[in-house]
Symmetry: C3
Subunit: 671 residues, 3 copies
């Protein structure tokens, strides 16, 4: 894996700005107010295609020329976004083949955003042209410090069904399989007489009765969409790299459903996430237990792609579109809390979305720092205070995140969840419970994706790997895990492990298949846990009834049903380490016990303690430890520091019992 260099040496604050949406007479005032509030960078341009090229091949740079020159003059840094997320109406009218489509072939039209597909040659040509023009025109501009490719790739939808996608899907499959025979074998098309006898018979998923698509096709379709997206971004990156100044970075924003690690390797210098925790408080929406704190999960995912990342869009006001999504305004303190959540998890740059709320358009209710009336307000004051906080804690910038364990994933299994509802139900349940257990017990974790490039060192960093349901398992990954355990690691796996091969097929192996050697178990029976059987609090969703092989120790047994008394949890030694095999999905309670059993629960308990509702993060650098405490609820929280530590935000040294205010944040240095 390409390890992202630390782009930002010091914490930095930015904002998203749309010079094209405002009278030019406001620009200078806006920039001056930003700078007063500590904002040193603006992101611009990502939705401005029709202004830059109002007619095919006719480029107009004057508006952005004037704005960037002004930025250069006043010392404001600029990140320029390529505008390819929103092709203009002239383009989609002239080239309707660039549009995305529904599975039934109905085109998705101009009028919202992201209505294009990645594979239409016409779109690739037109995007290459505008990116080339932008690179050539602004690549050397002194105000520019970085480039954003497109905007939120795979947002709005990650499904593509245009004719161009059909053609590209066939090419993708030809490259992957070489022959139709290999494809038919991989997908098991012999079932239901589905064998393909010509490549032209293959399409992206079209309407079929009861959605009964072949799962092999669905799995490869997810790989194809990811690949299409990465090729599209890579094409832009290749062009931009010919023009950008030394030191200027390439990024993209958001984190959507694709192989983001490969996107990073292929096209980017640094990853920037868009963090909107107010989604948790959306009206009419079912509540997740972690609410806004759940965004720490997304930040952890981002950190797995890029350990020191940026936030391109940090929520600064209520979110909403005119037709959906209704969020309350962040309360006083929440804006700063959410920004600090990003910083705690590894963001070195925080750019707020957006300077001032749009006065028109679908995002009329996606509120910025300033409201429609343009007056100074509490949000602006909070941004300014946040900037002062960052300055006070600048020594934390670039410090390492301290994780007790790694939650292991891979894209094959992630993609398979979209093809397989049985897989998804188990995996989704376990992931929610694992994160809940880790968060509430103050046991921080990293996410570790097993990739072709992953080496044993990447695993060995963690004393414990929790790989909940590696249904798809490969020889290479099994070997990586064996090496990990052998050198002393503790591996925990749950039900259905090793049940599928790389194509999503079930090989004729006793489960857990390729992991049987490590777990020292055989799965005798397996079943969904029927909801009629009463609460399955500790062993939820699905059961693998385990038979221990010789030398495998039974830690727990099922207590209910026809397999009561049979093992549900086993332990197997391999080399210096061991493997725990749980014949179930994971419950919060079980995860807590397993982490305790593995000796990694609550690692900071010696230094400080906090109630469940406070998130504790630890960062480490040059021998110094930094604790960051984030209090999410609208009520005070009581913490205890077990030794004196310096509060970087106040400069005070603190010890013993203390109180965090509602939405409060503290950063302590423990040397």
């Amino acid at each position: 894996m390409k390890q992202a260099s630390n782009i930002w040496k010091h914490y930095a604050v930015g904002v998203c700005y749309y010079p094209e949406q405002w009278p030019e007479t406001l620009w200078a005032q806006d920039l001056a107010r930003m700078q007063k509030a500590g904002i040193g960078t603006v992101r611009v341009g990502e939705f401005a295609w029709v202004l830059l090229e109002p007619k095919e091949g006719e480029y107009h740079f004057d508006l952005f020329d004037r704005f960037l020159d002004l930025c250069a003059k006043v010392g404001m840094q600029v990140i320029f976004g390529t505008p390819t997320a929103t092709p203009p109406a002239w383009l989609t009218e002239a080239y309707p083949e660039v549009l995305n489509a529904r599975p039934d072939g109905i085109l998705l039209r101009h009028g919202a955003r992201r209505h294009y597909n990645y594979n239409a040659p016409a779109y690739q040509r037109l995007c290459a042209a505008i990116v080339e023009q932008l690179g050539r025109h602004y690549g050397q501009h002194p105000a520019i410090v970085g480039w954003q490719i497109d905007n939120e790739l795979n947002c709005e939808t990650d499904e593509f069904y245009s004719a161009a996608d059909d053609a590209a899907f066939r090419r993708f499959l030809q490259a992957q399989y070489g022959s139709l025979q290999a494809l038919n074998d991989a997908w098991g098309t012999v079932v239901w007489s589905q064998c393909y006898t010509d490549w032209s018979q293959i399409y992206t998923p079209r309407p079929v009765l009861n959605g009964g698509h072949n799962p092999g096709l669905l799995l490869d379709y997810r790989r194809f969409v990811s690949d299409s997206c990465i090729r599209f971004a890579g094409m832009q990156a290749d062009i931009l790299r010919r023009y950008v100044k030394p030191g200027d970075f390439l990024t993209t924003n958001g984190l959507f459903f694709l192989d983001n690690h490969r996107l990073m390797d292929r096209a980017l210098d640094v990853y920037t996430y868009d963090s909107y925790p107010d989604f948790a408080l959306e009206l009419d929406k079912a509540r997740d237990e972690l609410l806004d704190r759940k965004w720490s999960k997304n930040l952890t995912e981002t950190r797995s792609v890029c350990p020191h990342f940026g936030i391109m869009e940090q929520q600064s006001g209520a979110g909403g579109w005119v037709n959906r999504m209704e969020m309350p305004s962040p309360r006083p303190g929440q804006l700063r809390l959410w920004a600090m959540q990003s910083v705690a998890h590894g963001a070195d740059f925080v750019s707020f979305f957006r300077w001032r709320t749009a006065p028109f358009g679908t995002e009329l209710y996606w509120h910025g720092i300033l409201d429609y009336d343009n007056r100074d307000n509490r949000k602006l004051r909070e941004v300014e205070a946040f900037g002062r906080d960052l300055a006070a804690m600048d020594e934390v910038c670039g410090a390492d995140f301290v994780a007790s364990f790694a939650l292991v994933k891979d894209y094959d299994n992630e993609f398979d969840c979209r093809a397989d509802r049985w897989h998804d139900r188990i995996a989704r349940h376990s992931e929610r419970e694992i994160i809940l257990a880790a968060q509430l017990s103050h046991t921080p974790y990293d996410v570790l994706y097993l990739r072709d490039e992953t080496d044993p060192e990447a695993l060995a960093k963690y004393p414990v790997l929790l790989y909940p349901h590696p249904m798809i398992m490969t020889e290479r990954r099994a070997a990586l895990l064996e090496a990990y355990v052998a050198q002393g690691g503790i591996l925990i796996v749950g039900c259905r492990a090793g049940f599928k091969d790389i194509h999503g097929r079930a090989p004729m192996l006793v489960q857990p298949g390729l992991l049987r050697k490590l777990t020292g178990t055989e799965v005798e029976e397996f079943t969904y846990v029927n909801q009629l059987e009463g609460e399955q609090r500790y062993l939820p969703v699905f059961h693998d009834v385990l038979t221990p092989l010789a030398g495998t120790q039974v830690l727990a047994r099922f207590e209910q049903g026809y397999y009561a008394g049979k093992p549900c949890l086993t332990q197997r030694q391999t080399g210096k380490g061991m493997t725990l095999h749980l014949g179930s999905a994971f419950s919060r309670e079980m995860v807590t016990r397993l982490l305790a059993y593995a000796g990694v629960l609550e690692p900071f308990d010696g230094d400080l303690s906090a109630p469940e509702e406070v998130e504790l993060v630890c960062r480490e650098t040059n021998g110094a430890r930094y604790y960051i405490a984030l209090n999410y609820p609208d009520r005070p929280a009581s913490l205890t520091l077990r030794r004196p530590m310096q509060n970087l935000l106040t400069g005070q040294t603190e010890e013993g019992d203390l109180t965090l205010p509602p939405f409060g944040v503290a950063v302590w240095k423990a040397e």
Copy 2:
């Protein structure tokens, strides 16, 4: 506003009849039974196109000739409906471009009704031809007393997406904006690179990702649909007016989502509503608190269009289609109660739907007065008794409705609710609560639409105007309101007032924008009230935190949340009147208090009192007051008359405590 003349000098009863659905041998008997039951008018013809023109250009009038001649002979009056709501199969096969379409372009086909669009030139030509033929043939027929244009315009759907609509939408926009620059400005297409560079790029809303259409487009689309419908009706009216006898009226029926006031002005002599309160009792349907009494809201809306109106279709039996809608039969007394509800609110003519239940077709379960078996039944007896009631109270015909206040609306804000869910959520909540408060406290109201034609006198009639959420505000309307307050009126507005301009954009003004002078307030912050914050019983949904300007009095303050202690209700004097500004949506409790504060709550309390579940209506003419009491539940209600009044239905003079039976109605004259 064209004030509708009083078409009916005396109360009249009618019925909907379909001579084409029955053996001709039944006609004479049916008419005789109708007349025996007090029915003097039949509405015919509105679904008979294929009989009148079974082949393009080939007209057959013989069936209706025979029927109308029979009517003339027996003295039955006829309202003839133009049959354009249901184009025949031959027509839609020959001219598929006349069909309406789904947003994805799939045509909506022959087989139900209202499957046409208003804008196809072929449809306009064919409709003009059949209407011309009908006018010419029956215009002078002695049985005819009026004409109904089409049937329930904009019922079934008020969305149109055909190619003809696309073309007409472009013409509508060209006429409205003149230039694309003006349109792009109005819609804010600079957001998301949506700028149109050619008129041909504009369409009615087509499929886009996540429904994220531009709200300016959606708002103008609603105006366009309304305009299309009115032009279509106007075209028919222009033709008919060339042929109708003096004194015969033009109307249409139902009340659907369009600018009904403009429809009235453009095309009609009188409005007739279709009243189906049994919808409230439909199976599997969520219950509204007011149940069938809620139809008083619709009748109030109808009264705002046309103070003395008719009912073209008054429910006489259970409603239902074979594929949806399942209603119980009205209980004994309910048919009369519902008809009296119409009369109480201003109907001078009540035509029941329908004489006898259809024995086939989609409306097999839309029951008429007579059942399938054609026997005399209790419903027929109830219709007859209702006719006698009307005769006994005929002096009330044409009397004015006495309203304590006006609920103010305008079509810009109504239409914006369909474009903007945030708007709709607030407006819908408040309207429901306002109506509930007014109904349960016996505080009758009118609805007053602010239109280009509205003059200050229209407002000055009311001591109190409640304009809950005029999000869109214009200079002209603000001036009207200022004049109203200055002359002594009390204006009440709620949250989000003055936040948008005529295109739905948020101008850079301190809210409530153009109303700030009247309210004497500034909105400091605003937010949805998150459901997590506990019950917001008195101040629901959305909060505007108010800052009073000098001279503005604070009446109440928020009690919860981070803005506790800040004003939520203010009062500002302007001239002889005042403005109350509520920083919230309206709750029933708040409305009741505000009406009491304004001195208009329970205006009839000196004359009589009734329990909440009884609706009280007051009508006034020539110095006489008439009270109408309607008891909706299936249980008796106790009322008290504080002075002697004559019960017109019984002829008795009553005073003191008395009891209304279940579903009972009383009409008292109080001189």
Copy 3:
């Protein structure tokens, strides 16, 4: 009705097998393990089209030649399925007109199964060709004992909207009506100007506003789909009969929504059902009270088509597709319980689905006897034990099912439920309650379909006929019922009887129309029972208020509402029998009382008693009675034998109190 001959003289066990899905090296081992487990028949071929004909007109029989020869060699019998349920990709690419379509015309594509329509000439030609080839090639093969036509006709969908269906629908209607005038009359197209003036104007139901199709069209559409399916199967049967060996049978599997009796008469020698009771335990699914026991309803329906039938697919493991349906594994004993449920209701042949779970494809989770790992398991042991049970009770094979009453149905009313939601709501409620009452009171019933071919003897077999809601009634059926009652039968009918004619129109008759003479009642009023009126436990959903004619006895009266005191249940003598008329839908309580009143409740009470949760079935042959008891819950059940009986499964004679284990089954012989 063609009475199916008893195909199987002795109980037989089979399994579904897919030789094409496994390495040929496994075949011999698989067959040997099957035979060891008592399996003597395999069903093959039904999804193998692309292997048999990988290219149009190019047939490859080698794979199945090798497999069938092996079967012949080891003595395994083979049922061969024609592969027409899954046309290959080459076929649908070359002939897209063979595809089924959505109502909006969007084609349903290759990639799942059953994506074809029955009416495309190209498909009929290609199916005829492959069936002809198979018949010619395998008709005389010694391993073959029977043929399955297609697979689960009308499964996945029973709606067809392709252009080929439009054309065929027109031909079907022309044959039925002769003239458009007759069709227009039958459908009542005079309503809403729907009259057809050319056959080409008629289509299968296409998109219309609010789904408001003409119900006459919908009713005939259901008849058309049924007819299309039967013609398609008949075409295959005609071909196969030219080639099959004497004694080999033709069948099809499953039981879906069509006139299965006519299908049987037209094309089959025996019916085979696919029984999957685990659907009752599917996750996220609302629970029916009878759970897996509800499959007895389906088996009863199958018995009505074919008294001695087979099970082609008997559930042997958890069911599921990758995209939907999630079932827990059957528990130990359930597999045998469910197979015995089939046998108890008349199955003489039980073929399990499937030998081993598919390792790929959409049905990855449709588990077979063997799991992915191919080890012996408890399911295989249970199949083997079930085979031994069958051998022990072989004398029951071919015995008659003993029914206390018949639940009467006809396809006109069944089809009308799909056209008419009012009909469906009432009929569905009553059927559920009737089955519940019969099951829980151990009062077994048959289902009797009234058909053109039904003669009085078919009715006279039953002392009681319960014909819950014959809304559509014909002269012929009324006469059949009169003859039945006259000879001593008891007929029970519920609300809405006789309300419609054969086209679904309401004739101008006093209800119950053609049944009025039998019931001796007139329906005075009718209404849905509004849910607001409180629990209608005994008289649910819909009320017909009855007026008894002279000579009719009133058994019960309504107790609530405005018709309290009016009759709700009457009795009328005709000849030696009587008719009970209930003015309501049926409740479980009412059904129990009516069956008791008719003297048929709990007919086996003298021989044995069982708790509600145990199903009791009685079979009779040669003067011997056999009782089969099935215990569905996961807990023991206490029964009492009132006289000594021989338990055929254990060989023991038992009497008095005894216990059935969880999921237990017993078979007693009572001579």
